[in-house]
Symmetry: D3
Subunit: 258 residues, 6 copies
């Protein structure tokens, strides 16, 4: 699936192979998605699909150093609940799932875990898990990373507009590259692309930096889309994915094992 080294997925291993992996592959990479609207042109599973592809490619890049754990298909998506098909966990439940998942890995001997989340709505909960683990599992090292945010340069190179993001240029490009069967090019429509389209509160919430004001997406875009996904190409997607994988793989190789 990734074209380079070998990908070891825990889901495909036997328990005996898992026991070996604890010794030989000291890192577990967990792909985390969301199950939420991605506009009229992309599938509800978009975030997980991207996370899984990135996790696999990273594992291939660091050949043998990491195994890919089972995926987390459901994430924290209350801001999309107004759109049909979105399934969300509360922040508490999502964090509990990650905590118990990591605790199981810890029981088997793993001490390094990296979550790759295709969905920014999981970031805060992943951080709270990282914090609580400092007290409950002091000998564990837990890291997490978003996807698209690691390829800021490649995204900027796409010439995105004033408002962009969810289900826009960058996510669509990745999907055209990684899973084109989940994109309907003919149904892609421009979502909100300029601040002027927003009501004043929504506009305020889109300013960079802080203070941070979180709103539901039905207030930001009638279609749930921010940016113009029609401008996306598979080539852009490849650039983004390559940058993301390179950056994470470099991090993993730099992570001392013991």
């Amino acid at each position: 699936m990734s074209g380079r080294g070998t990908v070891r997925r825990l889901a495909e291993l036997t328990t005996e192979e898992a026991a070996s992996a604890v010794q030989n592959s000291p890192l577990v990479i967990i792909p985390a998605g969301a199950f939420e609207q991605h506009g009229p042109g992309m599938a509800l599973s978009t975030d997980l699909v991207r996370a899984e592809h990135v996790a696999d490619r990273v594992a291939a890049e660091v050949d043998g150093l990491a195994v890919v754990g089972p995926s987390l298909p459901l994430g924290v998506s209350p801001h999309h609940i107004g759109f049909a098909g979105t399934i969300t966990l509360s922040t508490t439940t999502f964090a509990a799932v990650v905590r118990e998942y990591v605790d199981s890995l810890h029981r088997h001997g793993w001490r390094r875990v990296l979550v790759v989340t295709g969905h920014g709505g999981n970031n805060a909960s992943l951080t709270t898990v990282a914090q609580d683990l400092l007290v409950s599992h002091p000998d564990l090292e837990f890291a997490w990373t978003p996807v698209t945010a690691l390829a800021a340069e490649a995204v900027a190179g796409m010439g995105v507009g004033e408002v962009h993001g969810h289900s826009g240029e960058a996510e669509t490009a990745q999907m055209l590259f990684l899973a084109p069967h989940l994109v309907h090019p003919d149904r892609l429509v421009a979502g909100t692309t300029s601040l002027a389209e927003l009501d004043p509160t929504a506009r305020l919430s889109r300013r960079g930096g802080h203070p941070t004001l979180t709103l539901r997406y039905d207030r930001l875009s009638a279609t749930g889309v921010l940016g113009d996904p029609r401008r996306a190409t598979a080539a852009d997607g490849e650039s983004i994915v390559d940058a993301v994988v390179r950056r994470i793989a470099e991090f993993v190789r730099a992570w001392p094992t013991a």
Copy 2:
């Protein structure tokens, strides 16, 4: 993947298609697995793989009546935690995930949900969810079903021994039929096959019916296997899967919608 009718998976739908599905496909089928040891010859994801295949085939059988929701890859597996690679949720967290999943579906308008669990360890938690939903969501109808248990006749026809079950004849047969790449025929070994191999307490726990005494699997089998998976054939697997799918599909068709 199923060869008969059309399978609609929510994961592949857009939000607009999901909105239509609420109207046209009044039932959501959720595949639930476990992530746990399946002996030296089968993959850790065995239970989810079987649940997903069954869910897809049922959806195909009832053509259009049901959509398949995103999978639950992690289940309740504390009894297997002694074997490397097993990842378990607590019963409370697993139930919370299902409850919030179902609540999201309910917000979009679905009123019928069926969980297909490839792992018997989830049965009790699914029942507690069903009970709590009677008070919290009185207008929802929630059903769940195991897999192998629906094909008792086909399994009996395989000539299983005194002790069989987890990772034994029936599960291996299903995997040989559905996902042979996740089975290593050369590594299959007979697990515990007779009561005489067990210590008296373990023997007591394997008696049919009640009282029920739950033990960890490291007490029941050195390899984690109950029964002799070497006796399994893909043809047996097909008989089991066919029986299971037929039984569930019949249930779904009998379930009034409205």
Copy 3:
């Protein structure tokens, strides 16, 4: 109360006697009930009354091997909440009570606990407790058992109809034998006895086996009764109770202590 051996109830012991019991009576039997409607002819406490009598009789049968712990009068009864007088705990709270109860026994040195539940609605929660204890208290052995289900033959011998169960032939018979002052023979009425009386969804929910669909009892029976309690006799009740006690006592005697 039981007529055979000696019944030791923790409730009647002093702390010093309890300390001795930890040494001499390695098993604690916990009677669990529900507090719920039992139709127009039987008392709300029916399930606890039967569980307590069975627990006492088993303790008498295994003379000295077991002590009877304090009862759990409230169970999981959301399906009966539509009928006046029903008091229900959530599945989470019921499980917490059992877990903390067992943890206290464990602190005093007991390592074997058996819950006898007169109410099937508790089964799933008891199983979740058993599962969680495998991780939290690995040196404890926890078993549970229903009552009526252990006497399938005796019940079949009563000639029950197509639909029977809650507050029907078997439960009424037990009460006529064990606690006739809590039965009003003149008020006993036939409840739902045939599938034809049910709406299609309710009918589906009464099919044996799986999938399992749980409904509220106000949908199954106007009086809350399934079956015809007027056909019950005290003699039938004695047969049922004897079978149940024999079966559980045999289990207890087979349970190695140490």
Copy 4:
């Protein structure tokens, strides 16, 4: 059991009688106990036994105005966990049980609930339940009361010493009057009776009023007894119980219904 008016116990009613009771008996009285050590001479169930007797007698006194609900046999007893046989719930779980019990009564139409607790260790949790109900069930009136504390005069008349209380003069007297079969007069021993027997911290914790310092009972008394139970008589017990019942009954009669 009480000798005066009629006692209606929910446990003995049918669901139809319970429906009538909602109309005719606007108050539910809940007896709450503890399951904990009461020294070498009294049973572990002492607190529940006294609460049940008092509840019954109050119900008889206010003839028809109140029904007695099912008992709560387990309470908050962490301070006694050092003594064999004590079973304790956490404060959180005990409060959850009471809250869900009361919520069930509220669903059936009751709006007045009184808990009679034979165990002072439940007082704080009962108060937290009362506080939370002000927000969650604003149309419910929830009261609770201890037992012995209502008979301060009668207890003072017994001539108790400097240190007295748990399993001492007053509790033993009540049991000699109400349930003499649960008292072993020959095993009654004097527990801690003077401050001089205590270490300085324990002495501090026994001063009346505030600040309040809570210690485990194994620090206060080798036998778990405070005071001298040998001085108790059934006649003293009758005086105490009469005073307690009179006081509660007067409260109940003064409680407006509607």
Copy 5:
């Protein structure tokens, strides 16, 4: 701030000074308030202000023996939620905060903690924390105390009426002495002062002793005031505060340290 000895407040210490304090000041005093209505004449922070002043004065009195920890500004105030500005925690959350606070102190080596609460609504939750700590932190000694209740004599000397208490004579006097800038003498009004002003249920709830019936304050007083705050003087406040501080300081000095 207190005029006598030295007050050490953790909030003003560095981590190195805190490390020394663990050795030299074996007791931590925690001021706990509420944030709730105090009638038309006093500030919402009244309870915390009084608790902080008392804590500081006690620390000064026992010179060096105790440090004052950070304050708990929010308490358990559901009974005042009907009045604007009141902020309340649930009893569960308030207890969790105290438990985690104390656990942190325990990790640093402190073994004695005293909470001074200016708000009676916290009493029950503080007691539940004390109970749970007996099991979770058996080597910790945890005490708590109210404020005004320690000066019963001084309050009685003010000649209060039949109904008095919240935001009445005693609390206002303390504030006139400790924080006159938070009192508006011209806006002080008499609240409920006699039982006759109350409806029968409210009257019942104000009887001393037990049973205890908790009502919302909007049912007890239109202004939220019980008693006549206009009768308060700063001199009375000084008497009350002096008595309270003396009593607590005496307790602290009597508390053995190791």
Copy 6:
């Protein structure tokens, strides 16, 4: 305290004034701190002190538009628990406190809340609260902001080194300006200032951007300090605070009220 407009603090208002504030001051600003080590030269309360000053100054700037609510003195500080004096809440409890605080404000009619946190460790939990409120309180607008991060330019102008941050140049400067009595200039020491001082894992954790790896501070710095606080001046602090206040005030003024 702020020198410009008027500061309205809820803590100083009466309930009647709070009722007016709901109408006239549609925004509540909540200062949130941490209680944690700030090296050998600054007080444990540093983060709250800064948050409170900023909140007050913002309220003064937007004259009348906002009220300042009571402070949250305890935050999420597990990474500092290795240093004496640090008091931490779990992420779950901190979030529960904020949620219940905001729910109380919502009951009184406020619909806009802004938390100013002086501690970055609270950021993730505040975000989870914001997410959960989208479902539970859809008509509420909840924002939060850190402090120092809003003055990136001013901080950069101080010429900070390769490693800086906690208790370093910027925080010390703010304290020298706002609360010099809580700084001990003579005890300020340089903490970790270059990556070379760190072990490889710690070095990895300090790289900007993602992946994010969270470590305990005892692994990052022997004194708990990152950067060189000796380089801080009150003038720098004033620049930082001015920039922060300006930025937040501008946000508040841009926030539509209704």
